[in-house]
Amino acid sequence: MLGQTLAIARNTFREAVRDRVLYNLILFALLLIGSAIFIGELSAGQETKIVVDLGLSAMLLFGAFIAIFVGVGLVYKEIERRTLYAILSKPIGRGQFLLGKYVGLNLTLLVNVVVMGIGVMLALLYTRSGWDPLVLKIWPAILLIYFELLIITAVALVFSSFSSPALSALLSFFVFIIGHFSTDLNGLSNSAGSAPARWLFRALYYLLPNFSNFSVITATGHGMNPDPRAVGGALIYGVLYVAVLLSAAALIFRRRNFK
């Protein structure tokens, strides 16, 4: 069973590579090289902070675009090409198929994030003309970015399991934005006048993904180490939330009629 899931994952990864998804790395490299060379003249001694902020922000943004735009097409493309029927006619469950697709895209994102992380390291070494502690300190932030991307991919998969790619992309993008406003949702739930409004905001706060748990880019730029308990908590939260989303996607997908 695991072998079949991994086979789907491997094929999804190959497909992403064939679709030139990893070409975004070239743009990322150009962005980092440009910032490392030119930003120093404009930043008055803040080169390393800017390289980290720019590098990690670009990593999150590029990753989110890949997660959303590739994620929403994972299922749809298989249906449109009718390859899904061939796959599901074999002894592979629908949930298993979804899981394989999800793991495959995450493998693509992992390669993307690791290569980008190495790029940020090299840019830091170039900017400092030698060793800088930030070279190692960026990795907890990169891990958290990756986990945020895992959630975004799962969100895209849930929407794509019942909706068209365009609508799924739009909804996933909304979730990405709202997920970064979760602190405000909590604030609204505390300050709203009426009880139903308070309950609504409180429910949204707990139901929607809380991406502020994963936002440590700014602190990393200052060379601060994130609190290990907070990182651990965010990782556990990420795993639990992904499990919820994948279960929801599988439930919907299992009931979907392809006739």
Binding site: I50, F181, D184, F214, T218
Partner: protein, 304 residues
Amino acid sequence: MKMDLLLVVILIVCLAGAAAVTHSLTQHQSDVAKTSIEEPLYLNGRTARRMSLAFNGLAADWYWMRSLQYVGRKVVKFEDEHSGQFDLNTLSTLDLRLLPSLLDVTTTLDPQFIPAYQYGAVILPEINTDAAIALLNKGIAANPSSWRLHQNLGYIYWQRKDYARASEVYAAGAKLPGAPAWVAAMAARMKADGGSRNAAREMYQQLSESSGDPSAKQMVEQQLARLDWLDDRDVIRHALLYYQSHSRDGHCATSWRGLFDEFPDTRLRFDSSSGAPLDPSGIPYQLINGGCDVDLNSSSKVPR
């Protein structure tokens, strides 16, 4: 093949045409752009922070660079209009009205951005002291363990000649972990003789050592050069007075030669050809008022 060539020609010609039109439009709009540079910011710090999602650090970097560019552009413009003469004393004439807002947005987006507070502490007191104090108090609230921000706030109060408040701020900073011993010494000095030149020198030396921003550092070093010039002036005036009182008819010095023979221990540096003492920027001082007084040369880089 011919078609390909035609398409390439169209591509190049149209691209060049588009660039030419853009260039023409940019020149036409440059006057409008000059006025828009002073338009108030669309977003306040809190709104900008909300809208920046997880990218608040990057947005803070953007506003930080914008602050530097804003000041830089004004300095360049001033230097163009005044044949290259700019020093810290002329900062107040630059009309940097947007700088408090730019630094406020920068530090709201990234409250741990210590260099932005330090930059504000050096530049803003020349424009708006209250805005400088508000910025530093905001910084201390967001970074309560940073003794450097106390140092910067103390500097602002000292500039305002509020030595009692400066002493209090330094004393508060001295209690923080990692604060060097001179912070406590500075608290005592502010209380005892905050208005003295020695206190000023110490203040600027510490600021120069702690500032990471090259432009702020340069401005602080100019102030140190100004203090050196004031010290030099005291020594030279003493020598001129000595010369005048020991001359037969009480006339003032006509040249620098022999003026300092009675003061061999002076720390002044001298020009080898004219014997004139050199100011901190290496330019010879000039005699004024018929040799009875001394002043900086017009080409000196030292601020008055």
